[in-house]
C-alpha cells in the first residue's frame, strides 16, 4: 500500500515526533522542541505527498499504479537500511538543536545508510538469483564494510576503555586495569588458538560479550565523569599558593621542596613551573617586546614608530596585552611585574618562567585597575611609589614602569 519512499518518510516523521516529545520533556527547551515539531510536520507533509504521488514513479491519475510501476515489478527484499537512513535524518535534526557532534554523527549515518541502501537496491535488480545478487553486493561493498566496521568497532571499544581509564581513581589503577585487560585478551586468544575445533559462533559470542562489557562499563564510567587530574603548576599557581596558604608554603620551602619567597621575586628555579619551559615562542599579533639587555637594563619596543618616553609602557585597561620577554643577559632570568597589594590584601605579581640566555617567553597581562591606584608596589626606589613595575629578580637595575590609565 505504501511505497518505499513514503515508508522512509513516515518512519522519519515518527522518529521526529518521538524526538520532539523526548527533547521537550528532557530539556524543557522551547526552541528545540519547536524545531523538532517543525521537522515532524515537514516530514509528515512530504510523506503524505509522496504516498499520494506514489514516489513520483507514476502519474497521479493512473488507475493501477501498484501493478504497472517499475518499482512494483520486483519486490524489494527486507532491509534495515531505510530505517537506518531515517534514524540518521532524525539524528541530524536533533543535532541541529542540541550538539554539533550529534549532527555530525547523523550526517555520517545518513551517508552510510544511504549508500548501503542504494547498493542493496541495485544488487537486488542485478539478476533473478538472490544468492548471486548477494555475492555481487558483497564483492562491491565487503572491501569497505569490513574494514570500516572493524575500525568503528575498535574505535568504540578503545573510546569506552579510555573512559574507564580516566574514571579510575589514580594513574596506578589505570596501569593495573590496562595490564589486566591485556592479560585477559592474551589468555582468551591463546585458548582459542590452541583449540583446533573452536567454533566461529563460540569465538564470536565471547568477543561480543567482551565488547558489550567494555561498552557498558565505559558508558558508565563516561557518565560518572573523569577523576580529578592535578593541574600543572604555573607561576600564577605558585603565587596563588603563596598568598592563600602561607604556612604550608613556608613549610614547603623549609623542607626544600621549593625556594623561599614568591616565585616572581625569585631568580631561582621552581619545580614544574620553571622546568622545561619552552625557550622559543612566536606570536602573530603585534606585541610589546621587553628585552633584558646584557648590561642589566630593561628596554622595550612597541608596535609602530614611537617617540615614547623610555620611562614607561602604557597599555589600555582591561584589555589583554601580549609581552615577549627576551633574555640577553648572561644568566637565566624571569620577567616579573608587581601590581602591589590587591583588594584581598594579597601580594599581586605575575611573571614568566625562568628564561635561559637568548631565550624568550610570553607574558599576557590584563590589568583591571588603573596604575595610579596601585598600593604597596615595591619598585626599589623612592620615586613614584604608585604605578606598576616590571622588574627582573636578581637584577636590581632592571626596572620599567607599567602605566594603565
Amino acid at each position: 500500500m505504501f511505497t518505499t519512499g513514503s515508508k522512509t518518510l513516515i518512519g522519519a516523521t515518527t522518529f521526529a515526533v518521538i524526538a520532539a516529545i523526548a527533547y521537550g520533556i528532557a530539556q524543557d527547551g522551547v526552541r528545540g522542541t519547536v524545531g523538532l515539531v517543525s521537522a515532524a510536520v515537514a516530514l509528515g507533509t512530504l510523506a503524505a505527498l509522496n504516498a499520494t504521488l506514489r514516489d513520483s514513479n507514476v502519474f497521479v491519475d493512473d488507475p493501477t499504479p501498484v501493478e504497472t510501476t517499475a518499482a512494483a515489478q520486483r519486490r524489494a527484499g527486507a532491509s534495515a537500511w531505510p530505517l537506518g537512513f531515517a534514524f540518521g535524518a532524525v539524528t541530524i535534526v536533533v543535532g541541529l538543536v542540541t550538539y554539533q557532534p550529534v549532527f555530525v554523527i547523523g550526517v555520517a549515518i545518513v551517508l552510510a545508510a544511504g549508500a548501503e541502501w542504494a547498493v542493496q537496491a541495485w544488487a537486488e535488480r542485478a539478476s533473478d538469483d538472490p544468492k548471486w545478487n548477494a555475492a555481487v553486493r558483497g564483492r562491491l561493498t565487503h572491501a569497505l564494510e569490513f574494514p570500516l566496521a572493524g575500525a568503528i568497532s575498535a574505535g568504540v571499544i578503545v573510546f569506552a576503555f579510555s573512559r574507564v581509564m580516566l574514571w579510575l581513581a589514580s594513574k596506578t589503577n589505570t596501569t593495573v586495569a590496562f595490564s589486566a585487560l591485556a592479560t585477559i585478551v592474551l589468555i582468551v586468544g591463546f585458548t582459542f588458538a590452541s583449540r583446533r575445533g573452536a567454533k566461529a559462533g563460540a569465538i564470536g559470542g565471547v568477543l561480543a560479550i567482551g565488547g558489550i562489557a567494555i561498552l557498558a562499563v565505559g558508558t558508565a564510567a563516561g557518565l560518572d565523569g573523569e577523576r580529578e587530574i592535578p593541574v600543572f603548576e604555573t607561576t600564577s599557581l605558585w603565587m596563588q599558593e603563596a598568598n592563600e596558604h602561607p604556612e604550608e608554603y613556608a613549610e614547603g620551602a623549609e623542607k626544600g621542596k621549593h625556594p623561599e619567597g614568591f616565585i616572581c621575586e625569585s631568580p631561582e628555579k621552581f619545580p614544574e613551573a620553571d622546568k622545561k619551559a619552552s625557550q622559543t615562542v612566536s606570536l602573530k599579533a603585534n606585541v610589546v617586546t621587553i628585552v633584558l639587555t646584557p648590561e642589566g637594563g630593561l628596554a622595550f619596543d612597541v608596535p609602530g614608530a614611537t617617540e615614547e618616553n623610555p620611562a614607561g609602557i602604557t597599555i589600555p585597561r582591561s584589555n589583554p596585552t601580549n609581552f615577549i620577554f627576551k633574555n640577553e643577559f648572561n644568566d637565566d632570568r624571569r620577567l616579573s611585574v608587581d601590581f602591589g597589594i590587591d583588594d584581598d590584601g594579597f601580594r599581586e605579581m605575575e611573571c614568566t618562567p625562568l628564561v635561559e640566555e637568548t631565550g624568550s617567553q610570553v607574558l599576557t597581562l590584563t590589568v583591571s585597575r588603573p596604575s595610579f591606584a596601585a598600593q604597596g608596589v615595591d619598585n626599589g626606589t623612592t620615586d613614584d611609589a604608585g604605578d606598576y613595575w616590571f622588574f627582573v629578580p636578581g637584577v636590581d637595575t632592571a626596572k620599567l614602569r607599567l602605566l594603565v590609565p
Partner: protein
C-alpha cells in the same frame, strides 16, 4: 510553450505605451541623479579631505572614479543603444553567431591595461598610507561595544606627556602633526574611520593595528565605526578635534589637572550620587570617598568587555554615549562645527557650560540608557554574558538624583 522559429513574427507594442514607459524611466533617473547631489551637511564626506592621508586617498580616488565613470558611461550607453535599437518589434530573430576571437582578445586586453594603470597608483598610495615612521604623537585607540576609548601614553611626542591621559568619544590631536594611532579592541572587531582625515582601519581584539592620521588645520571631524559590531554599531561614533599647539598644551594641562571637589551643594550631593551609583564602572581620577580613599572603578566586574568611559573631564568633550549625542545644545554645536580654524580652539576649550548643556539627551540617558540606545544591558539579556552588561544598564535614578549628577558632571572639566 513553443519556441518562436526564426522568421515568425509577433504583434508589436503600441508607440504610446512605449513612450509612457520611457518617460517614467527617465523621470526616476532624473530624480535619482539630482537627489544624489543634495547633501548639504555631510561631515563624513570623503570627497572633502582635511588631512594629508585623506588627501592621498582623494588624489587616488578622483582619477579612478573618472576612469571608472567614463568606462561606465560608455558601457551603459552601448547597452542602452543596443536595447533600444534592437528591441523586439516583431522582426525575425537574427542569425546566432559564436566566437569573435579578435574582439574578445581586445576586450580582455583593454580592461587589463586600464586596471594596471589604476593598480600602480593604488599600490603606491597603499604603501604610502602604511608609513608610520614620521609620526610625532601616539594615541592608543580601543574600540569597545559601543564606544571608543582614547588614551595618550607617556611619551616624548605630543609635546611631551609625563602621565597618561584618558578620554572617550572625542580624540584631541595637535593640528598639522602626524599622529600614530595604535588601535585594538576589547571585544569584537571594530573599524576606526574618520573619513575626512584617513581611511578605515580595523580594530581587532588581541592585535594592535597602526594608523597614521593628520589634520591640516584646527577643527572638528566626525567619524564612526565602519565594521558591524553589534546592536548599536550605527551608534558607535567618534570625533577628532584638532587644536593648534598652544591650545593642545592647554588641553593636556587641563586633562592632567588635579581633581577638585565641587563646592556647590547640589554638585556635592551629585558627587555622592556618583560614588554610589556610577563609580562601580565609571572612573573619575582623583575622586575620593568620605574616608579619603581613592574611588577606583571596577568595570571589569560589571561590564562584559571590561571597561567603561572615564568621566574625569567629561565636560571638556562635546559628546557622550559613544559620541551618539551632543553634550552641547544645537546652537552651540553649530558654532563649534562652523567655527573657523582660528576660532575653533577657544570654542572647544571652553567646553560645556550650564548655558550650553544639552540637558535633554543627557537626562534621557541617565533616566533610562537601554531605552535610549540599544544595548545588551537589560536584565533579561544578561544570561549569555554571565550577568555582565554590554553597555550602560538602567539605574532607576530619581529625577533629584539626575539633577545632582548633572550638577556634578558639569564641574568635570
Amino acid at each position: 510553450m513553443p519556441h518562436r522559429k526564426t522568421g515568425t513574427s509577433v504583434k508589436p507594442v503600441s508607440t504610446s505605451t512605449r513612450r509612457r514607459k520611457g518617460l517614467r524611466v527617465g523621470a526616476f533617473a532624473a530624480i535619482g541623479l539630482f537627489g544624489a547631489g543634495c547633501a548639504q551637511n555631510a561631515p563624513q564626506d570623503t570627497w572633502d579631505p582635511a588631512g594629508e592621508n585623506a588627501q592621498k586617498i582623494h588624489d587616488l580616488q578622483w582619477p579612478v572614479f573618472a576612469i571608472a565613470g567614463v568606462v561606465g558611461v560608455i558601457v551603459l550607453a552601448v547597452i542602452a543603444f543596443a536595447v533600444f535599437k534592437f528591441r523586439d518589434r516583431g522582426q525575425p530573430i537574427p542569425e546566432q553567431t559564436h566566437g569573435k576571437p579578435k574582439l574578445e582578445i581586445a576586450l580582455t586586453i583593454l580592461p587589463a591595461l586600464i586596471l594596471i594603470g589604476v593598480a600602480v597608483p593604488t599600490v603606491g598610495t597603499l604603501m604610502a598610507l602604511n608609513e608610520t615612521n614620521d609620526t610625532e604623537c601616539v594615541v592608543n585607540v580601543t574600540g569597545q561595544q559601543w564606544w571608543w576609548e582614547f588614551d595618550y601614553p607617556v611619551q616624548d611626542g605630543c609635546g611631551g606627556i609625563d602621565s597618561p591621559i584618558i578620554t572617550s568619544g572625542q580624540m584631541v590631536i595637535p593640528a598639522d602633526t602626524n599622529v600614530l594611532i595604535r588601535g585594538t579592541s576589547r571585544d569584537v572587531i571594530h573599524s576606526f574611520w574618520i573619513p575626512r582625515l584617513n581611511g578605515k582601519r580595523d580594530m581587532v581584539p588581541g592585535r594592535i593595528h597602526t594608523l597614521r592620521m593628520q589634520a591640516n588645520e584646527p577643527g572638528i571631524y566626525a567619524g564612526q565605526c565602519a565594521e558591524f559590531c553589534g546592536l548599536s554599531h550605527a551608534n558607535m561614533r567618534m570625533e577628532v578635534a584638532a587644536l593648534n599647539d598652544a591650545d593642545f598644551e592647554a588641553w593636556k594641562a587641563n586633562q592632567l589637572a588635579d581633581y577638585e571637589s565641587p563646592t556647590d551643594e547640589l554638585a556635592l550631593r551629585g558627587e555622592q550620587t556618583f560614588i554610589t551609583n556610577c563609580s562601580r564602572c565609571h572612573q573619575v581620577n582623583g575622586l575620593t570617598d568620605a574616608e579619603g580613599e581613592l574611588v577606583v572603578s571596577r568595570p571589569d566586574l560589571q561590564v562584559y568587555s571590561g571597561a567603561a568611559p572615564n568621566l574625569t573631564n567629561l565636560m571638556t568633550r562635546n559628546t557622550f554615549a559613544g559620541a551618539t549625542w551632543d553634550l552641547i545644545d544645537p546652537q552651540r554645536r553649530a558654532e563649534v562645527w562652523e567655527a573657523t580654524p582660528e576660532e575653533f580652539g577657544d570654542l572647544y576649550l571652553e567646553g560645556v557650560t550650564s548655558s550650553t548643556l544639552n540637558s535633554v539627551d543627557l537626562r534621557e540617558w541617565l533616566r533610562n540608557s537601554p531605552q535610549k540606545k540599544p544595548m545588551y544591558a537589560e536584565p533579561g539579556r544578561l544570561e549569555q554574558t554571565d550577568g555582565l552588561v554590554r553597555g550602560m544598564p538602567y539605574l532607576a535614578l530619581s529625577e533629584d538624583q539626575i539633577d545632582e549628577l548633572i550638577a556634578y558632571l558639569l564641574e568635570r572639566k
